[in-house]
Every structure is written in C-alpha cells, then in structure tokens.
Amino acid sequence: MVGSRRWPEHLDAVVEEFQACFDAMERYELLFSYAKRHPSPLPQEEWDDDNQVHGCQSRAHVICSVDENGGFLLRGGADAQIVQGLMAVTAIAVNGMDPADVAGMEPDYAEEMGIRSSLTPSRANGFLNMFKRVTEEAALLL
C-alpha cells in the first residue's frame, strides 16, 4: 500500500484505465473485458455450496489459498459479468500479496474505478459480498 491509497500500487494502472473511460457504459465494457481475462478463474465445475458467495441476484464463487511462494491466491467465478470483472480486478490486486495485507484491504479501488453499482449497500451486492469473503478468508490464512 502506498500513501493514502488503500490498494496495492500495482493496481494503479488498472484504476487509471477505468478512470480514462468516457462514460459509465464504456467502463462497463471494459469491466466485461476484464471478466473474460480473469487471471485465476474458477471453472464452473468447481462451483459448489462451500465456495459460494451468497448474494441475492448473482452467483459468485471464490476459493482463497496461498501459492507456493506464500502469496495470496484468489480463484473466482461469477455468472454476472460485472461481478466477474470486479473479481478479476480484485485477483489482479491480491494475487501474490501477503495474506495479512489482503485481510486489511478496503474495496475503495472499485469506487475509484467509477463502478457506481459496486457501492450500493444492498444485500444483493455481489462485489461487496465477494470482497468481504476474500478478506475474511485472508485473515483465516494468517
């Protein structure tokens, strides 16, 4: 983490890419493209009740572990492309980080990216439910 920023420095380029979008629809298009290039996807065959992130409107599944170097590894998948895209960005952020740093992260980067729908306090917010699950599992890995 750098300065007041509460996300890892290597995510800055992604955040700036979203900030450079012309409007919300262009941001969603970019998010859909990130959904298609998730760095550590979780195939649907591995989706089960244990790894499901419970949200009202979309299905999201995550498995958190530590890689061979001791870094955090988020594998995830969602049926909603917006959640899947945010999950991909989150994986870019957290993969390889110290689990202790992941456990202390805040979801501010989504707000900075201008994804308005990521901010709603709705119980059905797939992104926030997913993010909470990731930080909780990171804490368990300590």
Partner: protein, 408 residues
Amino acid sequence: MTLDIEAIRADFPILARTLPNGKRLVYFDNAATSQKPQCVIDAMSEYYEHYNSNAHRANHTLADEATTALEGARNRISSYFGTSPDQMIYTSGATEAINLAAYAWARENLSEGDVVVLTEMEHHADIVPWQQMSIDKGIEVRYVPIDTESFTLDMNAFEVAIEGASLVCVVHTSNVLGVRNPIEKIIEMSHATGARVLIDCAQGAPHERIDFDSLGADFVAISAHKMAGPTGIGCLLVRVDAMAEMGPFMTGGSMIKRVSTEGSTFQEGHAMFETGTPRLAEAIGWGAAVEWLDQFDMSEVHEHINDIASWTASRMREIPGIRIYGDPEREDSSGAVSFLHEDIQSQDLALLLDEGGFAVRTGHHCAQPLMDALGVPSTNRASFWIYNTMGEAESFVQYLEEIIDRFA
C-alpha cells in the same frame, strides 16, 4: 373519463427527478413499490407538523385529532375495499397480514394433519408462515403447480389439492408473471369443500378494485405501498365470523381490556390485533392514497397499464435472445413483464438499464418456488403503473436493444 396521464404524473414529484448520472428517471419497478403522490406526502407531513400524538389515549386535543384521523383513515380504506371498518385490521403490510392469519387464526383452529393449500406462484410471504405453521402444528402444506407453458395455475391439480383442506391461500396476481388468477372460481371451489380462503392481494389491489364483501374470501392481505400509499402499513381484511375464531397474536398495550398480575383479558374485534402504538402517519397517508385513487375508474387504470405492458412484451419478443416469462398480452395481466436475455445475466442487465435511467427489478422476486418451476434462478422485471407512459416504454425497448447490441 379518460386518464390524463400528464396530470397524474404531475402529482408525483419523484417522477421529475434526475439520477446522479444525469439521466431522467423512468420508474418501472412498480410491482416492488409504487411512487407516492404529493397528497400522501402532505397528509403524513401534516400529521407530524400539526397533530402528532398517540391515538386512543389521553384526553387532549392532539390525541383526539390523531385518533379521529386514524379511524377516519380506517373508514376510508375499508370503504374503498367494499367492507366495513370492523372487518379491517391494520398491519405493517401484506406480509404481517398473512402472518396474522397464520398465527391468530390457523394456530387457534388447525391441528396436526389439517391441510393448507398454497400454489407455486406464491410470494414467500404466503409460503414461509405456513411452512413454520407446519413445523409448529404438524399441518400438511400442499402446493398447486403452475402450467409452465401458459404460466397459469393448473386448475385440475387445484381441484385435487383442495380436497379435505382447511385453508386455501392463493395470490390474486403474481408479482413475477403478472398473471391474475381466477380467484372468484378459487373461492367458490374452496368454500364448496368447506375450506376458508385467504387471498394475497398485494399485487392485485393496485390494479383492480378489491370488493371484499362481494368477493367472499375469508381473509384478504393488502399492502399500502404498492398502491400509492406509504411503506409500513397494510391490512388484513377478515370476515366477522373468521375474526371471531382468531386468538391474540402480538400482545401488549392497546389490545387488552384489563391486565393484572393474575393475567389479562383482551379487546374484541380488530382492536385485539392492533398492539402497541398504531402506525399513525402511515395509516393517514394510506387514507390519502385511497382517496387519490378513488378519483379514477380502476378498469381504465388497468387498461392503460395493460396497453403499455402488452406493447412492451410484444416488442421485446422480437428482440433476439429475449424470453418473456408470463403472458403480459393477456387482457387480465397486471403490467409486469418478466424477462431474461440468453447472454446478458439478469443483474448485469439491470445495472446497464439503470445507467440509462430505467429502474427495473432483478432477482427471484421473493418467489423462489416459482423460479424453480420456471427453471431459472432469477428474472428481470419491468412493471408498470398508472403514471407510466407509452413513450417511456418505447424508450425502454430502444435502450434495451442498444444494450444488447453492445454487450451481448
């Protein structure tokens, strides 16, 4: 009289609002809750500004005014629903109304092995209380399936299911499909077998005039907030003979005659079931809402809504990848158009529509057994009401096509 939609829209200040992204609001989530006309907002503000007080207690001017307004609203609302005030119990909404029927009537009158009939079309509010009653009392719950081709109740299965039933609970109009069930026939058939009947009119009341006394149901559950009234208020309409069979549910202040350390005695009639401080502002607001609605011919309102829903559904059927759940083109459908796109997940689609200013619903709509029957986890739903216009529907379909071209 022809509906003057522009004049109606002028009564709803929220319809003029602009969203944070600069888009003009197009509100198509009316099956979740309707917007409120200025007269309802004013009635509630006036209560708090001028005569806020607890009702039924105290001998002072404000308490008299508050009590008069609360009971005046009951008179107005019960009259609107074609019945007398002694057959109307204020509740927090349709959900509490159905729970009241379960805990105050069924718990007193049903025992192990008695049968309650539900349908796959029910809202969770008309399923979970009966499942809980099944656990508590050992009653049997039967579900009438829907025909997934016509999206209507399987009435042959219904006829079989009601044999020996003590209570039949059916939704007047599906919040997902917009299908209006043949409730008159359902009531007649159920009564013929000796069962009491509860009709969930949460979705029906905003679309047609519910005349409780002539309808003949034993219980009718209604929410104010879907028919221009405030949230947090509704009612259970109960026939006098059924109310006489009910025991106390929520207990405490207001519903008692006398309390001593040895025990308590209770009020009779609706007062037995209205415990604690009443929802005064909400009841007064609902009274204003039914007065506002009463100026319209509800058959004209229904025709207006049905025209929009029917046109929207027929245009959407032409969009590749869209599937409609329900039959909004039917004359008795209530203005809900549930749909899915084969490539764009429902939550994604709702968020993309929101960027265009269109408020639609997404999810299981608190009707998961119906979702199971349809074989889908969720749907998008556009639902229309009195203030929506054909122009809004046209812009919705156009924007939907643009989204699909861009994201599918």
